[in-house]
């Protein structure tokens, strides 16, 4: 049985439709991604899962319960890492974990042990006694993530978890999330980093303007919506647009961005040779494998970070 089941889930704010009839299921132990440009409706969907945003129509169950009616029961099993940190800046790092754990009705003795374990998880053991306002942005983020684990959640909702983390912290977090998954925790993740989505998500949906525009594993989406390879060429921002006409027809698909042109082809090197044989000398060129970024660009017409 799926742990999350959404059917025609819709959320309107007045006349504006933020989430527009999306349907998806998340299996136990799965790592499920929500991708989409700013304002696509990802955070709103997350909030509906936690029962802190009321849906306008459609149905939604989390662990078999309707989060609107059984909010406390649903949230008792949920770990929430909101997009925007909500730590108490005046309290010490460790006290933030304990106070938050108290909201779940967790006993003090349990929390004393748990807080130390979670500080270790967030690599903040040395900062246990520091006030949150004395932590760096990335440290706060890590503390927020650790806090979401205080109740041993069955489902962990991560809304852009690694925003603000340095590359090393990001990789460590990926590793830890991966192992949480091995321990049976279901992950629901939104992110603007494709490498993160590719690393972490078994399956993902791409949302645009509140609608699901594609669904599948990262690999399947790349296969379906992109070519095997991509050639990136730059002619200088003034000439990029003019070169489009020249290049059209040489690749399966072409995408002109302000700073570069993307050419989609099965054989990237071959295409690049063809380009230089025509005497079109790009300032720089690069052949790479297709990534989710390309899928995203194709589906939403925007880059992931916009």
């Amino acid at each position: 049985m799926p742990v999350i089941q959404a059917q025609n889930l819709t959320k309107k704010f007045g006349d504006f439709t933020a989430v527009d009839g999306i349907s998806f299921e998340v299996a136990p132990g799965e790592s499920f991604g929500l991708l989409g440009p700013n304002g696509a409706g990802k955070s709103t969907t997350m909030r509906m899962i936690g029962g802190t945003s009321l849906r306008t129509s459609g149905s939604l169950t989390v662990l078999g319960l309707d989060p609107e009616e059984r909010g406390p029961e649903v949230r008792a099993s949920l770990g929430v890492v909101p997009q925007q940190d909500s730590l108490d800046e005046e309290l010490r790092a460790r006290d933030n974990l304990i106070v938050y754990g108290r909201y779940f009705g967790l006993p003090r003795a349990y929390l004393e042990t748990k807080a130390d374990e979670l500080l270790e998880f967030a690599q903040l053991t040395e900062k246990a006694k520091a006030k949150v306002n004395a932590l760096s942005g990335g440290m706060k983020r890590r503390l927020t993530i650790a806090r979401g684990l205080v109740n041993e959640p069955r489902i962990l909702l991560l809304d852009e978890p690694t925003t603000g983390l340095d590359p090393q912290a990001r990789h460590i977090l990926w590793d830890r999330l991966f192992r949480l998954k091995e321990q049976g925790v279901t992950l629901v993740i939104t992110t603007h980093f494709m490498d993160e989505a590719e690393q972490l998500c078994d399956r993902l949906v791409v949302i645009d303007h509140g609608k699901i525009v594609a669904e599948g594993s990262p690999q399947a989406l790349i296969r379906e919506y992109s070519t095997r390879e991509v050639v990136e060429v730059r002619f200088g921002s003034a000439r990029n647009a003019a070169m489009e006409a020249e290049l059209r027809g040489m690749a399966e698909r072409i995408e002109v961005l302000p700073d570069r042109i993307l050419l989609y082809a099965r054989d990237g090197e071959g295409l690049l040779e063809q380009i230089s044989r025509r005497g079109l000398n790009p300032l720089t060129s690069l052949v790479r494998r297709s990534s989710l970024e390309d899928v995203f660009l194709r589906l939403t017409g925007r880059s992931l970070i916009d």
Partner: protein, 280 residues
Amino acid sequence: MTDVRHEQPVVTFTGLDHAALAARTRRWGWLHYARYRQASEGPFLVTALMLAIGNPILYLAAMGLGLGSIVQADVSGVSYLHFVAPGLLVATVATTGAQFGTWPIFGGFKWIRNYLAAQATPLEPGQMAQGETLAIGVRLFVQAAIFWVIGLAFGAWPGGWSLLAIPIATVAALAMFTPLMAYSATLEEEGLHFNFVQRLIIMPMFLFAGTFFPLESMPIYLQWVGWVSPMWHGTQLARMASFGLAVPPWLVGVHVVFLLACIVGGQVWAHRTFTRRLVR
């Protein structure tokens, strides 16, 4: 060298009973929230204590002794100091209650985001509002008790019944607090709302609370301001307790009912505004 950490689970899962946790929060969440509010006041404890001690000393010295030396005649049948002390106690504590109902609540949604944190847990918005009232109530009670103790040193209390002024002041303060808390939860932007509240609501309620002179000495067409002020109702009751101010029984009933109605009404309203603000 091998990395030992890699073999350990990242977080231990002890098999918590989530359903039991949810049930416990449904039952006790308000108390858990009150505990947080108390913990969050921790860093400001010294400042709060200094104010709670300094305020009564200043007020009792200035009003009781200073103004009292000019007011030679008895007021309501007692010395001016005895008359003014219960009023000062209620007014100071109630003013603090009103302040707790404004910026700290607004800031909890806007800057400190403590309500948003709690919202991700099984706690429900109404329980947060209840927890606020409990924690603030305890806080105000302590402040009232400190005032009373300092009043002893000034000889401000004619008898032991004046002790009742402590819970009475707390109730009057909560009667200011809960409706303001409810209102503050509706504000999205700072703007001038609190200036307005401070100058056009709290200030008149204080000026017409009969703190420094009996409300009856005001022209009748102005007395209604006192009637809608929890501070006046609280002051009347505190004076009854302290020096036995004569109040007809029906009016005692009005004072008590008015204060309790403000608290309960404010709390019910806060339940709604907190829920509206947090669940949308």
